[in-house]
Symmetry: C3
Subunit: 487 residues, 3 copies
């Protein structure tokens, strides 16, 4: 970004200057207690943004050199005296060491910028704890979502929100103003009781991905075991054939498409369930059960994991002819051929493979379009109809093409007795269950009678109730066009 | 996004509060007529943003539970009385049911948030129609580009523009203010006659992609037919050989590179035509014909489709050795070899393939760089020179490398009589026409004499006219550096 | 973007209108000297944003038609008289032609929008030069980072910063205000001496990529030569075998993984060096040497190039079985097999390849996750902990998996005399040096005693000094959580 480091928000500053009655934020004196990394980055940014900065340290002499020269580094009590807004950049464990300052701090605004190392580590949020130690102060929680690095390098596009909460509106306004002059976007999170939530944000580790990842791992494990038994264990036990070399590549490559395919159908299953739910209760005003709500919200992650598995399956498949085992098998087949003097060409096998390879590539191409439009910067440039066309319509076509890929891969093997190892059917037959249910349900919901009923429900119509006491014109109440987005 | 749901724009609210003479937006009472999805989401968002909300419903009792408790749900006439700004969240078909309210609504601002289900469904925009029904009201069009979901979940990065149009500046200002306090970015679209355009926006389905996609499909169809005749029909008719198994994979894989290659050259052809146009007329002030303008604007989409086809071609090619047919052919070749006792190694064939595979990978690598820098978030982080270097220079190198790939693939086959099936030349010779023209034209435009003339034209020089009555110094008028961006 | 062209920032305008004492920006008369592309685009944008525009041209009659009709096109002196803020859209070479206007321009604000064609082409920035020609004017540098195209099509998301510098605060404020009303984000770059820096920005060509790209090219060249000697030259000289066909594909494909693997380890090496540096000096307050700082800042680019090489390596590898040479070798092997009547199956070779292919795919999968999260729009949606988990933890796992891939690829060949061609060890043994060092160092730093010492240093502890004169509680000074981000 051009001029990242030196970027000072002209607008913010100007606004302040032009409204002198507002106690202009820039030019204001701001205090910082503490001299760690965060304190230093904060001081640097505040100085850049035109504030007077007073740093209160236990050891002002030693620390002075670490702060920008425009900041005044002095004793804690001295710093606290000089300003009304004080950033407390001290670990929670050491809040109590500030208690000597209780008198000097009385009536001032304390900004708690601390984070914890674990989610919900303490019963009480750090900010609440600080407030309980200094009842005469107004504690504002904020700035903790920023890293010292972001503070120093200046706000970039996107990640520049500063979540703020406080019980006092005026104090919140002042701190929000400071954040804005520093180039960040203050976001009001309400009263100080939200501090706990704000403190947990920087500790979150991809929470939306947890369930989908475990789901994918679970499916992988199940299908891997199943395929291992059929492809490796069965020939070893029944025919004493050593097929253990299949463990790293071939068994994985039979497992990945199962996972990808089932996961893809799990993206469209909750929409089908939601529609059935609405049809059954004859209303859209009844809340979905929680598990369905959760599921609907995780569809994007499940879809992306499905694409990831499908892409890995493609790479594994492409690697197959590169391997030694493939080479040796080919040579041995050629040698056998020479001995038997027959022609190696089974027309049916050729067709089967040409077709399923072809469907596989198509499905992968469609899924990659879905994955690309899931990127935030592309999703933001689409209107709702475009997004829904790609994610819902193209996605469903991808599911259908995947089903054709699976069916042509399977061909007639589901009806071949030899394919039932230990009475276990080929794994592709198992994977077909959920997707086919989804596809059939979708077709069912598109039958004219059902489709119309569903549309009426989504436009606000209700079973029973409606007929009795509302006017027909009431259906005219405007409902946004995305009614079909959940299906 | 952290705190998405609860995000209230502090800045907006503060600005309002500090300018009390402005009739502060937040805290203002806002009315909503209607009780559908959109009305509910709108009410929720307005309440979050600090507005007093009055909902007018035909059936207040039944609907009250569906709205946030802070919103007052009452009869339509009652709601209309209580406020000056009223959102009309009712389908166009039911506007006339509001006619009872004509007197109460007189002099108020009506915000039309409706959408249509088809582009240009009605002659008159919904907003114009509403204005004709309520001539005593000021109608503002706006908020229709938002989905109910966006309204409820709060504005995210990017997709938060609210397009507004109105004949009355003051009414437009007030509604823009409300949008801004709600966290959206109001965009002034001028007078109410723009309402039609605004109403069409949510109905657009990737308009910029339509022509490029049809172009790609058209090219695919032509080349597929051509290749089908040469590769499948010819051996069947002339030699009674059954090559129909080539339909799903091999014919597709000969077609895709043709499409990708021609499309890539079509990205650079309009620039060449534009330069010829400028050279011919000796001025840059003459507008390009419309078709050329359109073409220049679709280059990005054509380029991305070219990359998509190239990527599919790569995947298809990589699948070739995985197929049964390949396996059978190999074995049969080995068996034949054994019978004939010769050595299978044609040095020329080996070299041809090593080189064209190598060029193919290079071209794909370059195209993938182009595709990545087309992502909005990356394109935005590049300055003009960087963007032009990648898209124009690297892109042209990709075209040259693709040409080398095609030429080495073809080798001497263009001069081999046996390759002319039904007198049809190999398809690669056909695809070479446009790209080679583009490359030669580019080289021609870089000849010193032509290049200088072109540069002078792009700096404002004009044939004939200029010499006569302008001072030489007039060429000093500053022209931005991107003069070559169109070529 | 909806309504891009017509987008007028309502907010900006309103703000101006509501503070009439501020000399409202919109509605203000703005002058432009020059009639090139940039002048025209600027005029168009200013008119759209509600400004009165006066264009001063040497030849008003001829130029009038090129400007929007709302703009007044007149003689230069006339235009200069009518306004206080004048954009100078003239090439630096022709600044001196404006000297006739010295008297009319006195006391006015001149906005220098010019760019150069080369970095640091002139000793003095264009703005400084303009200021020296017109000492009675206030020169503001700005708007040069915009292209004429951006000006005309209106600001888009992201790339809408306007860097401004000037010695006079009031003039800077006025120009910043104009930029803001036009929909851009003004960024204060300080005094006019920064003009040089601002003028260089549009000329930058991916500066952050220069060193990493040269590093990758250098490594490629070294390893290519090394592999060429071992794989092509050695068999030719020692055994008179013609292996030159390996030049385009096979030698490249042995070189790419070496580059990718070494580059990946170079991403993690500077972190290890930084930790060693901190451990050695026992403090984190000592600045890293410049080369280390530079290196730490280029890790992202080095990592992405590593991924690019790894992806190319994957494509090359997948192409191997597709080639003629592979086909001929297979057939010949089959023929040889038939003659010798043995079974082609070396269990160890099969296992080696299955395992290293498997590790290779895993490493590529992990690296692709890293590459995706490097996209700006995704990186911005992650908090620091998530970003560090993916880039640091997953990245290190990718390094370990790559090492396993390399080791299983190598198998026992490092101990096989025949592999030492011209006494040169196999290239994979060379590539293992840096990565293994990094992995061992990482393990070493995770030994409890070392880890604890490192953590204490990163929390502010210092060797020697600390023990003597600071209180234990001083360690409580708040340090941001990202202390481990550099390792």
């Amino acid at each position: 970004m051009p001029g990242g480091d030196m970027a000072k928000p002209l607008l913010g500053r100007r606004n302040m200057e032009s409204n002198p009655d507002l106690a202009p934020a820039a030019g204001r004196t701001v205090g910082i207690l503490g001299s760690g990394d965060f304190a230093r980055s904060l001081a640097t940014r505040l100085v850049y943004s035109g504030f007077q900065v007073v740093v209160g340290s236990r050891n002002p002499k030693r620390c002075a050199g670490l702060f920008p020269s425009a900041a005044e580094v002095t004793a804690q009590a001295d710093a606290a005296k000089k300003t009304d807004v004080i950033f407390v950049a001290v670990f929670r464990e050491h809040y109590s060491t500030l208690c000597d300052l209780t008198d000097v701090l009385a009536g001032k605004i304390l900004v708690d910028v601390s984070n914890n190392t674990e989610i919900n580590h303490h019963k009480e949020s750090n900010a609440k704890y600080l407030a309980s130690l200094f009842p005469a102060c107004t504690v504002v929680k904020g700035f903790n979502v920023l890293s010292a690095w972001t503070l120093q390098s200046g706000p970039r596009d996107g990640n520049k929100q500063v979540l703020i909460c406080c019980d006092n509106q005026e104090a919140k306004r002042i701190v929000a103003e400071i954040a804005q002059v520093m180039g960040f976007t203050p976001v009001d999170m309400g009263s100080l009781s939200s501090a706990c939530e704000i403190e947990n944000i920087p500790l979150r580790l991809l929470p939306a991905w947890k369930i989908p990842v475990f789901l994918a791992l679970g499916l992988f494990l199940c299908f891997y075991t199943y395929n291992f038994i059929r492809q490796v264990l069965h020939p070893y036990i029944r025919e004493q054939k050593n097929k253990f070399y299949k463990i790293p590549v071939e068994v994985v490559n039979s497992t990945l498409p199962c996972v990808a395919y089932v996961m893809l159908s799990l993206v469209y299953l909750p929409g089908v369930l939601a529609a059935s739910f609405q049809l059954h209760y004859g209303t859209k005003y009844r809340r979905f059960p929680d598990w369905l709500d959760q599921w609907l919200q995780h569809r994007k992650q499940i879809g992306l994991l499905s694409f990831f598995c499908a892409a890995l399956h493609a790479v594994y498949s492409l690697c197959l002819p590169m391997r030694r085992s493939h080479r040796y098998q080919l040579i041995n087949a050629a040698v056998k051929q020479v001995m038997e003097k027959t022609d190696a060409w089974i027309e049916e096998e050729v067709w089967r493979m040409e077709i399923y390879v072809s469907f596989g590539i198509m499905a992968l191409g469609l899924l990659s379009l879905l994955a690309i439009t899931s990127l935030p910067s592309i999703a933001n440039s689409l209107n709702w109809r475009e997004f829904s066309f790609i994610q819902s319509t193209l996605g469903f076509i991808a599911l259908v093409v995947s089903t054709l890929h699976t069916l042509t891969f399977g061909w007639t093997r589901a009806f071949d007795e030899n394919q039932y190892k230990f009475y276990l059917p080929p794994s592709y037959t198992l994977t077909l269950l959920v997707p086919c249910t989804v596809i059939l349900a979708k077709i069912f919901f598109h039958l004219p009678c059902i489709h119309q009923r569903l549309r009426r429900i989504r436009n606000g119509w209700e079973k029973g109730r409606y007929v009795k006491f509302t006017l027909p014109s009431a259906t005219g109440e405007y409902s946004s066009g995305e009614s079909s987005s959940n299906v």
